[in-house]
Subunit: 218 residues, 2 copies
């Protein structure tokens, strides 16, 4: 089955119509099932309903397809982080927490993208567009950190880049250890979301940051 050319609304006949997209979606499906190492070019072709030679019209090889998947993943990731941060409104502290939630939510909702982005072992250097997408995603976190830092007195501000790296590491660690689709490898006394939120609160308190005292009601 999969996204063969016979889907409703899709073109039919000799030409698939949108094979490139179909291959990407097939790859995502397969990565979700078997991990980034377990997906094969031939499998993707089969799932898309074309012959094993067809993918070569669109991707040089398996690696390039994976790379494309990762790039799309980073782009979507950046979008979702951006949407969660929303310029730091209404206040930076609350928005920063939303950012953390969005990170975890993406890892949970799109495990295949997340695998391709972080666990497929592809180098960011092999494609400028990939690196750019990855940088864009990280920038959201970095800029949010910068803005949040502004709430501290000038002489108590940590380097925002370091702060971003700390939070990223924390979110990535929790995502990979506890937020897998398979329910994680270890029983937790709390959800991965709560785990990240509590860790971020403690970390931010360590920096001298606290939730603003203003009432949250609008």
């Amino acid at each position: 089955m999969g996204w063969s050319r016979h889907g409703p609304g899709g073109r039919r006949g000799y030409h698939h119509g949108n094979l490139r997209e179909a291959l990407v979606r097939a790859a995502l499906d397969l990565i979700g099932d078997k991990g980034p190492g377990g997906f094969t070019f031939a499998d993707a072709a089969r799932l898309a309903g074309v012959s094993p030679a067809a993918p070569y019209r669109h991707f040089r090889d398996r690696e390039q397809l994976l790379c494309d998947v990762a790039r799309r993943g980073f782009e979507q990731f950046a979008e979702e982080l951006e949407r969660a941060w929303e310029g730091g409104a209404p206040d930076a502290f609350a928005a920063y927490e939303r950012l953390g939630h969005a990170y975890l939510s993406f890892a949970r909702k799109e495990p295949a993208y997340y695998s391709a982005m972080f666990e497929a072992g592809i180098s960011l250097d092999q494609d400028p567009a990939l690196r750019q997408a990855a940088d864009a995603a990280f920038s959201v976190l970095r800029e949010a950190s910068e803005q949040l830092c502004l709430q501290l007195p000038r002489d108590a501000r940590p380097p925002a880049l370091m702060m971003a790296l700390h939070v990223w590491s924390l979110a990535h660690g929790i995502s990979t250890l506890f937020a897998r689709a398979d329910g994680g490898r270890r029983k937790l006394p709390m959800s991965a979301e709560d785990l990240l939120e509590s860790a971020m609160l403690i970390y931010l308190r360590g920096l001298g940051l606290r939730a603003s005292a203003k009432p949250r009601r609008k």
Copy 2:
């Protein structure tokens, strides 16, 4: 070459003498080179200098070999963490920091073990000894957290298990993102070690913990 039967001190002849060990070491070598997904049973046999059928005398299949590697990894990991913690002497705060360093140091020094343990996708449930080894490693961190918590006034103590999970996630995130043998995917303004140390300091400060003020000189 590899650990064939002709190594100095090894037995020679028809019987390998210590094939089981040799296969484990070959697997580690291969995982180090190509990741846990890239190693094959046949490859391990070749590297150990035996026929492709020989490994079946010692391991049911590739999965079981991987599982054995992971178990050994956790055992060594637990040992090194234990050694770093050293009962929390001379003071728990300093020992806790050593624990963080030991975590990162293991991930850096034994990337193949680390991959097998955390990235090979093997379930901890498939082998009681594996789970036990993994639990033992985590226990070191949990017990250290408990002990460190005792330095806080009773009404300000966080759940030690949560604290252990936070620190583990942080260390794991930094290890996988920045402490890979390939130098990491991203240029850092600081070493992974410094990154972890600074994050832990901030986190612990957030809990109300600080380095003891006593002079460290003996």
